[in-house]
Amino acid sequence: MIYASTVRPPLRHAELGLSDERAVAMYEKMAAARQYDERALLLQRAGKVNFHISGILQEPGQVAAAFALDPSSDWFLPYYRDYGFVLSVGMTMKELMLSLFAKAEDPNSGGRQMPGHFGCKRLRIVTGSSPVTTQVPHAVGFALAAKMRGERSVAYVSFGEGSSNQGDFHEGCNFAGVHKLPVLFVCENNQYAISVPLARQTAGRICDRALGYGFPGVRVDGNDPLEVYRVVREARERAIAGEGPTLIEIMTYRGAPHSTSDNDLAYRTKEEIEFHRAKDGILAYRRYLTEAGLWSDERERELQERIRRELDEATAYAEAAPYPDAEDSLRHVYAESAEANGGDGPWR
């Protein structure tokens, strides 16, 4: 007798140890990041906020990486396009909007820093700044602290391919390599640093630099979130096991101009942008989930509406929220309470 049955091959996400819920949750985070990003751009063009810097098309890689980490014990040092990442480790749309509108309730900086400058100790997101790449040695410092304390924890740091040319990248990598520190160096290579294309930014491959520092470098397609998840998870396991850092180069594309002050058609063509838009990792992942029977048009509609509602609420809330007091801007240069300095304030 011939017994014919359809044997379903195991699904990729299942093989990676991702439950169906987590796989779907990844998609929802990407979609949320996308909507947030597009709304922020509109708000800037409408004159409601001064500035927005976009991460469009980079969301799938960011979300996948975040899902491969442990938000309760790892340290996160994202860079300014990482909306997908921070939403995935616990930041809310409302908090992002408060940061965008520079309001007092913004947890990232109380309305002091530009949007995209994330920081929230509660979520283990380390405060970032505008000079690029400075966060790379900081991540190494966090990893050093983890090693010294014997903690099972990695420091995840992301940056662009332009930033990977700064001295701090090389110094940080080298330091971590020498002392075998648990750092994940993640370069989101989106092909452009403002107007400078990859060919003018570096002659080699960024992932190859790791060789010089004594640890593995991996290149991965940012439009394939499951592959990114796999790579990041493996790198994390290596780090926890004491095998040292990994350099991960996520190949992606910067779908929007550098920022709202940039006219990108001055240095690239509409055709090129459209070509990459068509390869959008979110669309591809949606197809995957649909084929896996985990997604449908109905669920898509419902998700978009849900995100839209949350986004509208967050926008309205942030818009109506108060700015910090002008006099507050004089505070927190130094610690305000008398610390253990023999009881005297640290300043006069």
Binding site: G119, S129, P137, A145, E171, V333, P346, W347
Partner: protein
């Protein structure tokens, strides 16, 4: 105790007291530091807590900043302050601003130690006093002790301070200066100057090694000319001890400011401006500054080094002239 031993003792005692304190820098571990400042610490505390780093000042500072944010208490050593500048971005853009930019969510309890000053024929890149480069950057604290006692007390205070502190130790003072260091745990509060000598005829304000020239000169002037100088050691450059400075200046109305760092844009300029702004009607003479000349750095040949550096005779002459004004 010698100045250098006092610094080492501060680190040792703090590392014993608090497991979060550690040292990192080039050659600090096995070698014990190019001046022997950290000698003997690695055998006591191990390789991780007295960490030999690669040759990268920006990473030394940056890694220390990260570790400080993670809750440790790093003491990062810059081998010579002349070589600090690759770390300037990390110090000024990052360390100084972490508490402010995160609206008090994060802070950076970091100490960076760096030797300053000339007198060892080190030439342009082993003799600089770069304190004025970082001075005026809000968010940083800057200290420059002149005695062994203050060195230990200030370093201890710096290690315990929740904000970033630049600790500038004078390399000539390492073996040259020795004084009584109290036993046990004590700190010298950051932000407080010290009156080293009371006087009525003029006020001398300075920091680090030149303070000693002022004291020697004051002693001679008292004997030879009957001039009594009031000598104040700033000890902390940032935040300046406003009250201390103003009180000392008002006491005599004549102020001479000393520092080895070059004159223009130095810390003395701020002290002078502060006094002029607040004490116009107490001034009996123009405010004077005796400082290094405005040249990029001191050259290696002995006449040039002598021309650059302050010494007891230069200070004494300036003090006498002001007293006689």
């Amino acid at each position: 105790m010698e100045y250098i031993d006092a610094i080492r003792l501060a680190m040792k005692e703090e590392m014993e007291r608090d497991p979060d304190v550690f040292v990192l820098g080039e050659d600090v571990g096995l070698k014990g530091g190019v001046f022997t400042t950290t000698k003997g610490l690695q055998p006591l505390f191990g390789e991780l807590r007295v960490l030999d780093t690669p040759l990268s000042e920006s990473a030394i500072a940056g890694v220390a900043i990260g570790a400080a944010m993670a809750g440790l208490k790093p003491i990062a050593e810059m081998q010579y302050s002349d070589f600090m500048f690759p770390a300037a971005n990390q110090i000024i853009s990052e360390a100084a601003k972490i508490r402010y930019r995160s609206n008090n969510d994060w802070n950076c309890p970091l100490v960076i130690r760096a030797p300053i000053g000339g007198g060892i024929f080190g030439g342009l890149y082993h003799s600089q006093c770069p304190e004025s480069v970082f001075f005026g950057t809000p968010g940083l604290k800057i200290v420059a002790p002149s005695t062994a006692r203050d060195a230990k007390g200030l370093l201890t205070a710096a290690i315990r301070d929740p904000d970033p502190v630049l600790f500038f130790e004078h390399k000539k003072a390492y073996r040259l200066i020795r004084d009584e260091v109290p036993e046990g745990d004590y700190i010298v509060p950051i932000g407080r100057s010290a009156v080293r000598r009371e006087g009525t005829d003029l006020t001398v304000i300075g920091y680090s090694l030149p303070l000693h020239f002022a004291l020697q000169a004051a002693e001679e002037l008292a004997r030879e000319e009957g001039v009594e100088a009031h000598v104040v050691d700033l000890r902390t450059l940032q935040p300046l001890d406003r009250e201390g400075v103003l009180e000392a200046a008002a006491r005599t109305g004549k102020v001479l400011i000393l520092h080895e760092d070059n004159k223009t844009g130095g810390v003395g300029a701020e002290v002078a401006a502060l006094i002029a702004e607040e004490l116009l009607y107490d001034l009996d003479a123009p405010i004077r500054r005796l400082c290094g000349p405005d040249v990029p750095a001191m050259a290696i040949n002995p006449p040039a080094e002598k021309r650059f550096l302050l010494n007891k005779d230069k200070v004494k002459a300036a003090m006498l002239e002001l007293a006689r004004y």
